[in-house]
Amino acid sequence: MTSANEGLYDAAGQLAAEYTSAAAQASACGSCFLTADKLGSTRMVTDETGMPRECHDFLPFGEEIPRTSGCYAASTSNTLKFTGKERDQETGNDYFGARYLSAAQGRWTIPDWSARGEAVPYANLGDPQTLNLYGYLRNNPLGTRDVDGHGSCKDKPGECRTIRDAVANGQSIDQGIQAAAAQAAGPPPPPPLPAPPIGVLTTDMKSHTTTFTMSYRGKGYYEVQIETRNDVDSKANPGAADPYSTPAIKGVSGRHAGQRAYGPEGAFIDTNDPRGRAIHGGGSRLAHPFAARQGWAPTMGCTRGQNEDVIKLGEAITGFQRQNPGALIPYVREDK
């Protein structure tokens, strides 16, 4: 028997296995040991003595390069070929669990599918290659391998881990895939979340009311309504008395506290109007602008309320904002 050492190198040029060509003619081994490359493809089978019994080289999509020299000419009962998957002896297709890969075509034999019932399973709409349900590894098979027939571990590391764990625990790859599918389907959906908190501030200029309507999670709606007026000074800017709305009020502001025109602390609600129109108490013309109920006087476009009423309204708004941080309170001043 001639003996010549031959090396098997991976894509990085590193020696993956070494064998002796003298063993090339050997028949099936008793106990076979598989040597795989970095993609998991079986490149060499050795017997219990370390003698090479079978060698394989694969094209990127799994088709085997026909060779007849040395150990390439021999064969064993091993059926684990491209990326370590079982090659069907009759069809030559590789079984990945979810699908068969036709190595000769470099394509899956059936389109991809998902236990979750997705329209385009495992697709990334930002990556057109994933929309091809027959394509193997996005037509880029050199760097990684498909784990279960649905894609690479890089695309779905969680499922890969599940399959790997299953196999490590003595289960078959099919059982691992089932476990992964069950995991992908996820736990039963949680009960729907209660409606988000809602707070809405509305001024009805016709009925002379301003109302803050708020909802607390699952506890119904509450209202605070006060009497307000929208009489506007004749010197006010055009449109000052018009309806307007803002997407989110700022809330109670101390910016004008203590000024006769706006009333005492807490009686100024900033509606976040770009024109500066707010809801406030006070009244420069009035005899007692800081009294709890000071009376009524026109504004330059703002909505006027009695001091104690505006303070009460502001407290409700502040309380809502405190209990629901980040919740927006839209404001609408309308003339129904």
Binding site: E227, R260, S284, R285, G295, P298
Partner: protein, 211 residues
């Protein structure tokens, strides 16, 4: 309502808040208030003869508000103007200073109104309130004024005007007061930039029974 004293010539009527001046101070009860209760002694021979228990009820253009004012003579001889109703209860003071009747606001102590104890048509004076330089002018003294409380003759009209620069009040402002003999202020108009935005009129009053 008692008829105004027609024995005087309307052209020569002199509106007077003379001694005992506090009897006529009650006329201010009608200012800025829907109603008033006045308890004063009747002063013989004075033009504004309000009687001991005048009850007046004003209703302005702001119909949702009703307010009552009671003028109370204090033990010290002064007068308090106690107001109540939809607006917060207030207790203002009426004082006489240098020939003027001054309505002094409770709390702030600002002189809300300053009217000469006696005046004639054409009289003018000034008063600074909240930084506003208010000009008082008596424009008429023989007007016929009709209010819900009745038709009133020989009424005086007093204009108080100033220019405001406030966040909610800008430009020329004016208060027009109508004073009826024996009743005091029976009507008040508020103007801003030549536009009337508020009016209060006397709707009801009652004279209390004499002790």
């Amino acid at each position: 309502m008692r008829e105004p004293n027609r024995s005087r010539s309307a052209q020569t009527v002199r509106y007077a808040f003379g001694r005992p001046i506090l009897l006529r101070i009650a006329a201010f009860a009608l200012l800025n208030v829907p109603s008033a209760i006045m308890t004063v002694d009747q002063a013989p021979g004075t033009y504004f003869d309000l009687g001991p228990h005048l009850v007046e009820d004003f209703r302005g253009t702001y119909e949702f508000k009703h307010k009552h004012v009671e003028f109370v003579q204090t033990a010290a001889g002064g007068y308090l103007a106690r107001s109540s109703g939809d607006e917060s209860p207030q207790e203002d003071r009426l004082v006489i200073e240098s020939g003027y009747v001054c309505w002094v606001l409770g709390g702030s102590n600002g002189t809300w109104l300053k009217i000469r104890v006696s005046f004639r048509s054409g009289d003018r004076w000034e008063h600074v309130f909240r930084g506003w330089n208010q000009q008082y002018v008596v424009t008429d003294t023989d007007l016929a004024v009709s209010v819900p409380a009745g038709g009133l003759q020989h009424c005086a009209r007093l204009r108080v005007s100033w220019v405001a620069h406030e966040p909610d009040m800008e430009g020329p402002q004016e208060i027009v007061l109508y004073l009826a003999p024996h009743l005091g202020i029976v009507k008040r108009e508020l103007w801003s930039n030549s536009s009337k935005y508020h009016e209060e009129v006397l709707t009801k009053y009652a004279r209390p029974q004499a002790n």
